[in-house]
């Protein structure tokens, strides 16, 4: 069926360059630009609640994209992503508080520091594959979590640490309305960078490692290099997302970066679609809005027989956790290619509307 992008009639590619542009068609490029323009105007119309959701989708989406580069494109499993996300958050706050580096410089620097940490854990990854790797990253998750609780000089220990708001030319981005633009800029830049990476030699090498690492190695792709690189890249994105998170909340506590959060990241890319750039964003949106949906359902059901039988109001925290697990399982069983695939099918349906064959 229509799984690849549908190219309009007469739009022939005559060179490899034109076949690997960032946007496959002119229309898709225009729509992407339109989307960004609409988002630019969004703070004028939306209230704080929705802006908050969008900002969350933004910084989590950046981190999820990093995980998708590692899991979806390179085929390496990581169950420790939230630890890297947290490391980025602490690193940015620490750079700012301890060394007085301005926040706008802290965010990329924190991402680089996280990359270094990711590379350290990526070294065993270069030798491992499949489930051994999954277990190694699980260990990384617990070791980093322990480090957060232990390293008072870095994270403030159990008390947590304060992160200053982002300031640029004397203007502080400390409200939802202004910070929205910061996240938007970072998100657009990081997503374009990732798309660019995937149409370059290195990106194709990553995909080759995923599809058949033996063949990839025979073709001259350095497995160790690319596996470590994928780990570094994913940590870079996670650190970036974490830093944005820190300066948005202006407070980082050591408790947040648990294995459940890591699993949520994995859920995002599975729901969105493994190996799909825009899928990462869709999956993140889904995962961020899921608790709201649960809240809505609970409110809608309150007072009914189901509510009285199950005592939903008290159970809502557990229901959210369960929903994450159930959604992951349902997507894996019924829609393993994620929302991105479904979106393509919807597009294909409308393009081919009256004659779908």
């Amino acid at each position: 069926m229509a799984t690849t992008t549908l190219i309009p009639c007469g739009d022939f590619k005559t060179s490899y360059g034109s076949d690997t542009t960032i946007f496959p068609t002119v229309t898709s490029r225009n729509f992407a630009i339109l989307g960004v323009v609409l988002l630019l105007a969004a703070p004028a119309f939306l209230d704080r609640f929705w802006l908050n959701q969008l900002i969350q989708i933004g910084y989590l989406g950046i981190a999820a994209l990093g995980l998708n580069i590692l899991v979806g494109f390179t085929g390496q499993i990581s169950i420790g992503h939230s630890a890297f996300f947290g490391f980025g958050a602490f690193a940015s706050a620490w750079l700012n508080n301890r060394w007085g580096i301005p926040v706008w410089a802290c965010i990329p620097l924190a991402a680089l520091m996280t990359t270094a940490v990711g590379m350290v854990f990526g070294v065993p990854a270069a030798r491992l594959k499949g489930l051994y790797l999954a277990i190694a990253t699980l260990a990384a998750q617990y070791i980093l979590q322990d480090f957060f609780a232990r390293a008072d000089w870095f994270t403030g220990g159990v008390a947590g640490t304060i992160a200053m708001p982002l300031e640029l030319f004397g203007f502080a981005f400390d409200t939802d309305h202004s910070y929205f633009y910061v996240v938007l800029v970072y998100m657009v830049v990081m997503y374009i960078l990732a798309t660019n990476l995937m149409r370059s030699r290195d990106g194709r090498a990553l995909v080759a490692v995923r599809d058949h690492y033996l063949s990839a190695e025979i073709m001259g792709i350095n497995l160790t290099k690319y596996r470590t690189m994928a780990f570094g890249l994913s940590a870079f994105y996670a650190g970036m997302g974490g830093a944005l998170y820190a300066h948005y909340l202006q407070f980082v506590s050591v408790e947040g970066f648990t294995i459940l959060f890591s699993i949520q990241f994995l859920g995002m890319i599975i729901i969105g679609g493994l190996g799909s750039i825009m899928g990462s964003l869709m999956g993140t949106a889904f995962m961020v809005l899921l608790p709201e949906l649960m809240q809505y359902l609970t409110t809608a059901l309150s007072g009914t027989a189901i509510d009285q039988a199950l005592n939903l109001r008290e159970a809502v925290a557990f229901l959210r956790e369960m929903a994450i697990g159930i959604v992951i399982i349902l997507f894996l069983v019924f829609e393993p290619d994620g929302l991105a695939h479904r979106w393509k099918q919807i597009k294909a349906y409308w393009k081919l509307y009256p004659f779908s064959h």
């Binding site: 499993i77 030798r127 491992l128 489930l131 277990i135 699980l138 260990a139 159970a315 697990g325 159930i326």
Partner: protein, 295 residues
């Protein structure tokens, strides 16, 4: 010295329990090549079921416990048939994620049904502690050590002599050949999950009797990974040894920490450092099958 000895005995006993859980983990892995991240939840579910039977229904232990085991047997089969069977042939990440999803669901479900606080088991043994070589040891721990050894011996017998155990080994060796010899591979998969769930529940109940039942039990499922990696993912003997080593090691780390280092939390975290080190040096563990894959 007294403390060290006490800790070593604790380590041996907890290590034996790790060994039992690791063994049931390896059982699933060997039979169906599925890494079960929900192993800890088996302990949790088993312990809560037994607790519920003993407190709400006021059943004596010797009735409640077998009912728990039967329940876990059925639960394992249902889980495999409903959730895991459709995943046969899917890529490894999907299967891993399904078990991770299951683990979240069960953990939240158990918290929802039984609350977040640890609840003590009704007393089962007449005297809570007993004297072993001049050391105070909880009776349950001694019994649990005996149970662990019994389970291990049972596993040994099962795989060596029983018809089903042999069929299971054949399935683990080569599914196609096993199928052509008339072994129902599907049945073996389901049975491996059932036995694994049941044996984990035994461990869960034992820990629950000692420490009370709470969601902390599911951390056993995470601690299993250092043990199985140490022993090699597909070796039953390796799992037992790995469990013992991890149990001793975390208590030793705790001792070293409490005597000299004072870093805190070494008990929890030391196995993971060991895990990383082993993966760097000897990724297939002490007894695991070496997968040679260099070009």
């Amino acid at each position: 010295m007294q403390l060290l000895l006490q800790l070593l005995i604790n380590g041996l006993i907890v290590g034996a329990l790790y060994g039992v859980v690791a063994m049931s983990f390896v059982l699933i892995y060997k039979a169906s090549r599925i890494v079960n991240f929900a192993q800890g939840e088996f302990l949790l579910i088993g312990a809560w079921t037994c607790w519920w039977l003993l407190t709400s229904w006021q059943l004596p232990f010797w009735i409640g416990f077998p009912i728990t085991l039967v329940f876990m047997l059925v639960f394992g089969v249902i889980l495999q048939v409903v959730v895991l069977r459709p995943m046969i042939g899917e890529p490894i990440i999907s299967v891993i994620m399904v078990t991770i999803g299951l683990s979240i669901v069960f953990q939240a479900l158990m918290k929802w049904m039984f609350g977040v606080f640890a609840k003590p088991f009704p007393p089962i043994f007449a005297s809570p502690t007993m004297n072993v070589f001049g050391l105070e040891v909880q009776t349950v721990y001694v019994v649990s050590l005996v149970i662990s050894l019994l389970i291990m011996a049972g596993f040994g017998w099962f795989f060596k002599y029983s018809r089903m155990g042999l069929a299971m080994r054949a399935t683990a060796w080569d599914q196609q050949v096993a199928q052509s010899l008339g072994i129902s591979v599907r049945q073996m998969f389901a049975m491996s999950w059932a036995i694994s769930a049941m044996v984990s529940a035994v461990a869960g109940v034992t820990v629950g009797v000692v420490n009370g039942v709470s969601s902390a039990l599911s951390f056993f499922g995470i601690k299993v990974f250092p043990a199985v990696i140490l022993g090699g993912l597909d070796s039953v003997i390796g799992a037992v040894l790995g469990g013992l080593i991890v149990g001793l090691l975390e208590n030793l780390a705790h001792y070293v920490d409490s005597q000299w280092l004072n870093w805190g939390n070494m008990y929890e975290i030391a196995p993971f450092y060991v895990l990383i080190a082993i993966l760097m040096v000897k990724p297939y563990g002490l007894f695991g099958t070496k997968d040679i894959e260099r070009v």
